[in-house]
């Protein structure tokens, strides 16, 4: 399988509020799914989300790269479950305990069937990928201002995966570039 190395179009600094004409190069659609892991909030484009699994049984893959939490059986298919913090490159990432939820993302062919596939849908492959999180939050529509992500020297953050940070009344939400997030991180090839 080829590993797409292209990175989605750079995020716009300011996003148009809802109801305004849609800007052509959007990172994400109008609706975002929020979720929490290790006390931090994240969001991804809802268009990418296929379904959410509750307390999935994860089969560990020994000697696999740390970004892979394991494999999950999903109705006759086998999906690769990623570890969120490892994927983002956090130096402090620890392999969490029980998996509470798994967000399952759409595959390339599934995205292609959408009337308006997300801009970074070409980064999707044919394999099913999910990410293990602690808690699923609300679906939010209005994104307001998008702040640039923190410098990677501090966090070890893989910048390609992050579109920016949304300041919300309830706290800061890291908005993911879903396509880039699901791709294989460079240098992690075993």
């Amino acid at each position: 399988m080829d590993t797409p190395r292209r990175i989605a179009a750079p995020p716009e600094a300011t996003l148009t509020p809802r109801g305004s004409p849609v800007a052509p190069a959007r990172v994400a659609g109008d609706q975002l799914l929020t979720f929490r892991t290790q006390g931090r909030w994240y969001a991804c484009d809802l268009l990418w989300v296929r379904e959410i699994l509750r307390q999935p049984a994860i089969t560990p893959v020994d000697r696999a790269p740390p970004v892979v939490r394991g494999l999950i059986h999903l109705r006759g298919q086998i999906l690769t479950a990623l570890d969120l913090e490892h994927r983002l490159g956090f130096k402090s990432a620890s392999s969490g305990g029980e998996a509470e939820r798994c967000i399952v993302f759409k595959t390339g062919p599934e995205l292609a069937r959408l009337a308006q596939p997300p801009a970074d849908s070409e980064l999707a492959g044919n394999d099913i990928i999910g990410v293990v999180v602690d808690h699923i939050g609300d679906i939010i529509a209005d994104r307001g201002t998008l702040l640039p992500p923190p410098p990677d020297t501090i966090s070890g953050l893989d910048h390609a995966c992050v579109a920016g940070v949304l300041p919300r009344p309830e706290g800061l939400i890291t908005l993911l570039n879903t396509g880039a997030f699901l791709s294989v991180p460079s240098g992690s090839a075993p």
């Binding site: 893959v61 020994d62 000697r63 690769t80």
Partner: protein, 991 residues
Amino acid sequence: MSTAEQEMLELFVQEAREHLGVLETDLVSLEANPRDAALLNRLFRAVHSVKGTAGFFGLTAITELAHVMESVMALVRDGRMSAGPELINLFLAGTDKLKAMVAAPERSSDISSLAEREALGALLRSDPPARPAVAGNEILPLYLRAFRIDPELVRTALRSGHHVYVVQLRLHADIELKGQGILDYLREVQSLGTLIDTATDIDEIGGLESDAPADVVCSLLFATAMEPDLLLGAFDLPADQLVQAPSAALRDWLSTQPVLAPAAPPAPPAVIAAAAPVPAPAATPVTTAPEDGTTGTAHPMASSARTKPDETVRISVSLLDALMNLAGEMVLGRNQLLRVAESRREGAATPAESDGLGGIIQGISAVTSDLQRTIMRARLQPVGGLLGRFHRVLRDLGQKLGKEIQLETVGDDVELDRALIEGLSDPLTHLVRNAADHGIEPREERVRAGKAPAGRVRISAAHLAGRVQIEVRDDGRGLDPARLKAKAVEKGLLTPEQAERLGEAEAWQLIFAPGFSTAAVVSDVSGRGVGMDVVKTNIERLGGRVEIESVVGRGTAIIIRLPLTLAIIPALIVGCDDRLFAVPQLNLVEIVRTGPERPLEDFGGSRLLRLREELLPVLDLSSLLGLPAANHAGASGYVLILRLDRRRFGLRVDRVADTEEIVVKPLGRHLQGTTFYSGATLLGQGRIALILDLAGLAAGRLPVESNAARDTTRTVLRPPAEQVLLFRDGTPETFALHIANIGRIERISSSRIERIGGQDFLRQENGPTLRLVRLQTHLPVTQPGPLPDEIHVIVPRLVDQPVAIVAEQIIDAAELPVDALDSATLTAQGVLGTASINGALTIVVDLYGLLRSAGLDRPAIPGGADLASCRILLAEDTLFFREAVRRAFTGFVGALDVANDGEEAWQRLQTGSYDVLVTDLEMPRLNGFELVARLRADPRFKQLPVIALSARDTPEFHERARGAGINRFESKFDRERLRLALVEALSSSAS
């Protein structure tokens, strides 16, 4: 371009590719048989079809090139030009260009075929009488002159009393507005008669992209038996768009055309070299990757952004229908399950047995197996397409190397999983190149050695013992062990002492070592930076094995054995800690239990297992995967003895769970490249098991010098083997019975056996009472003890009497190599012989002999005919199938006579008396259809049952076979099906 158009275009691409593939193969054959009329006609038709369909799409670049090629081909066909190597080169270059254009039709106009067209055009001009057909068309009515008319087609049409029409079609108004696709329409047209030519005013179209409002008018020259008004109705066209061509004018025109008859001496051929200076670059054959659609062009389109369309498979409608039926049954099963679930929820009072759950599950399980089998069939493709490519590869190579090389392919009809065919392409190309480059000697050397000046390469494919064997064999210089060893020492791969110890077979294996190349000079033919080690890795990745057989001075054979399919494999499920893993059965030799009584020995850091005086290195799965070492030292566990190519090693696991047929699922992108796993699978309970990649596990972890290479001393070329079932019947002897003989196996309680008059019987609830045959009473074996509570009975197939063989214990299924059977040591009625299977001496049971000695005569055919006195006549021209059929029937019927073709079969029928005719359909002299037609017309043979064998498996073909009076049609060679067909043919003729 609309989606519909895009789809049609893709259909065109698919069809054109097939035509071009045929073209390439046939062109190479043409070089060997330049006068072969059938071949020439096929070539002509292939180019013609490409031209015709491309014309519909206004793909002028393709049409122009195909047109010139077609014109020159017509000259060759009519004997006005000879097909020398230069001309073939030109045609091949043209074919390459066409392929490139067809690969990206939208861009076809960007590809210049000027050089090819010029070169071919020069040939046309050099042959004035053969100027395009238009030149000869002057005597025709005006509206016919635009067509390039194939005189043969017209002649045939007129001879059969057909009418010739010119049909005007408006592409938009007549086809698209009626909701049809052009290709469908054309196909329909062709089902009504013969399409002789199409003509489109190309200048008017201006490409598909232009939104020209004017409709494109296309004329078809069409021959059919239909009357004009009928035809108008069939085409759904107004009357003014149909003109009937006067037969008289066509006859006059025909008289000016040369008659094509294979026997007629051809007109003096134009010498091509004198015809035109052929531009050298255009004629240079390209040897790199000829399978690539863009070969031979230096155009940037290879890197075009056009994404590759989804791969498509063509499957027969009958297969699709079968799948549909199965899906229907699945739905039925689900509904039944839902009903049961519902009733259980409502009233728990229903006892579990009475709601029929068992039956439903059995039904679903049967449908699932059927579904799996049927889908597998859809994935199978004949290997011929792959093998056919090598004609071109070898021809080009031969020219380049200055060697004359002939290619023979055997077993084109053998079917393989698509994925395997794709995966085989590169390794086979490499092997064929190697054979041509290193194997086949230069001409002078061959002559000096007393060999035929032309080298021979043979690629064969065959199904053997549930696997596929592909063999690349050359008659070249062979692998010289001494030279190989010297080379390995020189390269530092071996020390001289190590080399000294290597046997012949082990020395051959050296060619698979990375960095080993036997050619003194790395040529651009086979030395492309990849060696045999890559070939071997690729084959192993496909689950196969590579073996070598060679005789110095006589040639080399590389033998590839592959599983039938990649998608489903039998596997052993093992466990470590709480994990489950699947190990392909293919690699498993045996399982050894370890423990205090059989400890693993530590030996200089590596662990070894002593197994029958052999020390095997043992890897520990837990420690490889970093799992907690569960109470290790001396603890119980299992060692799987695995075979990886020629090495054998052990793998320690904690538990052995089960064997299961697993569906292989590829790993996601994040796990690609993990060295330990080759995939994942879902087990029955929904658990996931990772499939271990044994090559990855073993890589670099086995001691370099171990007895692991021991396997090499075994026979290099394993003979074909048959599947047998091993069982015991209360005595120490192990018996083997051919699986083909077994209908089913049942486990019964021995209390159900009733003894009447010294014989044992088993009553069945639905079915006749079975007479039980005990091997111990009929075969020379030791006397048994009393029966255990539970026993097995084996119910044989193809036996008329209700009979079953008692087996107290079923051991396993195994392979019995044909030559392993020793029929001299133990001779008795009911015994075929003895063989050593899995290390134990085994008695191979002769089912029919056994039944006879049990007082049950040779199985009779329902209806009275008797197999023992049955005489079969086989008409078959291919040696391979002759052998295969002969083997299927030897010992099964009374006598089998063989005729090499239909004519010979007819002769034999005049003198001999036969009960059944088994015939191939495609044979020289008198083919199967003609033979059957003759039989059915003769009162003596009107009733003779006929079983036809043919690889062609289309409903039309079946229909035609039935219409011809063929009783049974077997599309693929399968021994059991063939036997069944015979029994059925006999019983229906008897009743």
